[in-house]
C-alpha cells in the first residue's frame, strides 16, 4: 500500500493512501444488514446472506486490523497519530456509553413513570381503573397483561446475591488483572504481562459462560424471557448488550495477548493495549450499573 508522510509539529503524520477496507466494509455491512432484515421477515435468502455478511465482517476486521498492526509494527505511526487513535477510542467509548444510556433510560422510565401510571398514579389516574382492571404494579413487573411464557403470568428473577455477585467479582478482578498487566508492560516485565493478560480474558470468557448459564436457567426454569413484559425486556436487552460487549472485549484482549506473545508493544508505545484496557474498564463500569439497577434494586 502506498503511503505518504507529511510533517507536523512532531514530524511525520502518517496518511495512508488508498485502502480497500472501507469499501469492503461497507459492502459487508450491507450484506449483513440485508441478510438480517430478510431473515427477520422469513425470506428464503435471508439466513445465507446473513451468514455471508458475518463472514465478510469477520474478514473485514481481520484484514483491516492486520493492515494497521503491520503499519504500526513498521513504525509508521508517530506520537501524533497515536494521540489521534487515543482520542478516537475515547470518543467511541463515549458513544457506547450513550447507547447504554438509552436502555438504562427506558428502565428508569418504566419503573418511575410507566408502571405508576398504569397503576393509576399521577396525571393518568383513571388508566388503571378503566383499562387495566385496577392493576397495581410492583417491581419486578411484567405489566398489567402479565405477559410471559407461563399461563399464569408468573416469573422469577435472578437473585442478585447468586451468580450475578460472583460475576461482579469476576469482572472487578479482571479490571485489576488488566491493570497489573499494564503496569507489567510499562515495566517491561513480559512474563507477568502475559500471565495477567491471559487471566483477564479468561475471566471475561468465564463471565460470559456463567451469564449464558443464567440465561438458560431464566428461559427454562424461571419463566423469565424476552417476552416477560417490561422486566424481561429491559433485563435481557441491558444484560444482553452488555454480554455482547464483554464477548467482544474478551476477544480483543485475546488478540492483544496473541500480539504480546508475538512480541508486539513497547513499554511506552502500546496504544492498542490501552485502547482495549479502556474498553474493558468501560464494560466493567456498565456492569456495575447493571448490577445495581437491574439485579439489586
Amino acid at each position: 500500500m502506498a503511503q505518504a508522510e507529511t510533517t507536523t509539529s512532531e514530524g511525520k503524520y502518517y496518511v495512508p493512501h488508498a485502502s480497500p477496507w472501507p469499501i469492503f466494509g461497507s459492502v459487508s455491512l450491507f450484506v449483513l444488514m440485508a441478510g438480517a432484515a430478510l431473515t427477520l421477515e422469513d425470506s428464503g435468502a435471508g439466513p445465507s446472506l446473513l451468514t455471508l455478511g458475518l463472514v465478510l465482517v469477520f474478514a473485514l476486521f481481520f484484514g483491516w486490523f492486520r493492515t494497521v498492526i503491520n503499519e504500526s509494527e513498521a513504525g509508521a505511526y508517530n506520537l501524533n497519530v497515536d494521540r489521534s487513535f487515543r482520542m478516537g477510542m475515547s470518543w467511541f467509548i463515549f458513544s457506547e456509553v450513550m447507547f447504554f444510556a438509552a436502555f438504562f433510560g427506558s428502565l428508569f422510565y418504566a419503573r418511575q413513570l410507566a408502571l405508576p401510571w398504569l397503576s393509576g398514579a399521577g396525571s393518568k389516574h383513571l388508566t388503571s381503573e378503566l383499562l387495566w382492571n385496577h392493576f397495581e404494579a410492583h417491581w419486578p413487573s411484567n405489566g398489567p397483561g402479565l405477559l410471559g411464557p407461563r399461563a399464569d403470568g408468573s416469573f422469577k428473577t435472578i437473585p442478585a446475591m447468586g451468580v450475578p455477585a460472583l460475576n461482579t467479582l469476576l469482572l472487578l478482578s479482571s479490571g485489576v488483572t488488566v491493570t497489573i498487566a499494564h503496569h507489567a508492560l510499562r515495566a517491561n516485565n513480559r512474563r507477568v504481562l502475559k500471565v495477567f493478560l491471559a487471566l483477564t480474558f479468561l475471566l471475561g470468557f468465564l463471565f460470559v459462560f456463567l451469564q449464558a448459564r443464567e440465561y438458560h436457567e431464566a428461559y427454562t426454569e424461571l419463566g423469565l424471557q424476552l417476552g416477560t413484559g417490561i422486566y424481561g425486556s429491559t433485563f435481557f436487552l441491558l444484560t444482553g448488550f452488555h454480554g455482547l460487549h464483554v464477548t467482544i472485549g474478551a476477544i480483543m484482549l485475546l488478540v492483544i495477548w496473541l500480539r504480546v506473545m508475538k512480541g508486539h508493544f513497547t513499554p511506552d508505545r502500546h496504544f492498542a493495549f490501552e485502547g482495549v484496557a479502556w474498553y474493558w474498564h468501560f464494560v466493567d463500569v456498565v456492569w456495575l450499573g447493571l448490577y445495581i439497577f437491574v439485579y439489586w434494586l
Partner: protein, 287 residues
C-alpha cells in the same frame, strides 16, 4: 394583572387588524370556549412580540445593508470587534421578554390542566380510522366515522369534485353531542395506535394513547357545530377520521340523551331518535 392586560391589548390590536380577524382562513380561531380565547390571545401576543423584535432586528440589518455598501465607498471600522456592554444588554433584554411572555402562558397552561368539577364525562377511543364516544354513566356509546358522501368522493379516482361535497372530509355519520355551558371532561385512549383528538374551536388537542388514559376538558360557551381532525399520524387513513361536535342547549341535550338511552334499550335498528342538530343523525347506540 399586568401581563393579562398586555396580552389583551395585543390581542385586541390583532382583532382590530382586519387582515387578521378571526374565523379567517389564515389565523387561529378565537373559538367557543374561554380557554380557546385565552390561547388565541397568547398566540397573538407571541406573534406581536416576534413581529416587534423582527422589526427592530431586521430594521437594523436592512439599514446596514443600505448604509454600509462598499459600492458607496463605505470603509470598514476594523476596531468594532466586541463590546461587553452591548453583549450583556442583548442577552438580558431577551430574557426579560421571555419571562414576561412565559407568565401568562404558564397561567393558561395551569387552567387548561384543571379537569376538576366536570359535569359530563365522555370516553373517547381512537380506532384506525374512526372515533368511539362513550358517555360515562349514561349507557350511551357509538362510533363516529367519516360521512359516506365524503368517503365516496375521497377515493382515488372517484371522479367526484370535492367542492360539490358538503363539508368535504369534515363531516361524520354520528357527531359527538354535548350541552352548552357545561364542563365536559374527555377521557382519551387509543385502541390500536396513537391518535389525537383535536377541535380547534375548543383549543383541545390531546393524544389518544393505547393503554393509557389522558384527560382533557372544554366548556363551550355557545351552541353550534364544531369540527376537527385526528392530529397524529395513525396510518393510511389518518386524513380521513374527522371530528364533529354539536354543542346544543342543555334541554336539547337532555332530550337527545333520553332518546339515545331509549334507543339503546330498544335495540339499535329499531330506533330513530330525533337529533337536536340537523347534522346529528341517529347513532347506533349500544352500551
Amino acid at each position: 394583572m399586568f401581563y393579562r392586560k398586555v396580552a389583551t391589548v395585543l390581542a385586541g390590536l390583532a382583532a382590530a387588524t382586519p387582515a387578521l380577524a378571526y374565523e379567517s382562513t389564515y389565523n387561529l380561531p378565537v373559538g367557543a370556549t374561554d380557554i380557546s380565547a385565552r390561547v388565541f390571545s397568547l398566540h397573538m401576543m407571541m406573534f406581536w412580540v416576534c413581529v416587534a423584535i423582527a422589526a427592530v432586528v431586521f430594521g437594523v440589518i436592512i439599514y446596514s445593508l443600505w448604509k454600509f455598501r462598499k459600492s458607496t465607498g463605505a470603509v470598514a471600522d476594523q476596531t468594532l470587534t466586541h463590546s461587553t456592554n452591548v453583549e450583556v444588554i442583548w442577552t438580558v433584554i431577551p430574557v426579560i421578554i421571555l419571562v414576561a411572555t412565559a407568565i401568562p402562558a404558564a397561567r393558561t397552561l395551569i387552567a387548561m390542566e384543571d379537569t376538576r368539577n366536570s359535569e359530563l364525562t365522555v370516553k373517547v377511543v381512537g380506532y384506525q380510522w374512526k372515533w368511539k364516544y362513550e358517555y360515562q354513566g349514561k349507557g350511551v356509546s357509538f362510533f363516529s366515522t367519516l360521512a359516506a358522501e365524503s368517503n365516496y368522493a375521497r377515493q382515488l379516482g372517484s371522479g367526484v369534485d370535492p367542492t360539490t361535497v358538503k363539508d368535504y372530509l369534515l363531516d361524520v355519520d354520528h357527531p359527538l353531542v354535548v350541552p352548552v355551558d357545561t364542563k365536559v371532561r374527555l377521557l382519551l385512549t387509543g385502541n390500536d395506535v396513537i391518535h389525537s383528538w383535536w377541535v380547534p374551536d375548543f383549543a383541545v388537542k390531546k393524544d389518544a394513547i393505547p393503554g393509557y388514559i389522558n384527560e382533557a376538558w372544554f366548556k363551550a360557551n355557545r351552541t353550534g357545530r364544531f369540527t376537527g381532525q385526528c392530529a397524529e399520524l395513525c396510518g393510511r387513513d389518518h386524513g380521513f377520521m374527522p371530528i364533529v361536535v354539536n354543542v346544543v342547549s342543555k334541554a336539547d341535550f337532555a332530550t337527545w340523551l333520553d332518546a339515545q338511552v331509549a334507543a339503546s334499550k330498544a335495540g339499535a335498528s329499531a330506533a330513530d331518535p330525533s337529533a337536536p342538530a340537523a347534522t346529528a343523525a341517529a347513532p347506533t347506540a349500544s352500551l
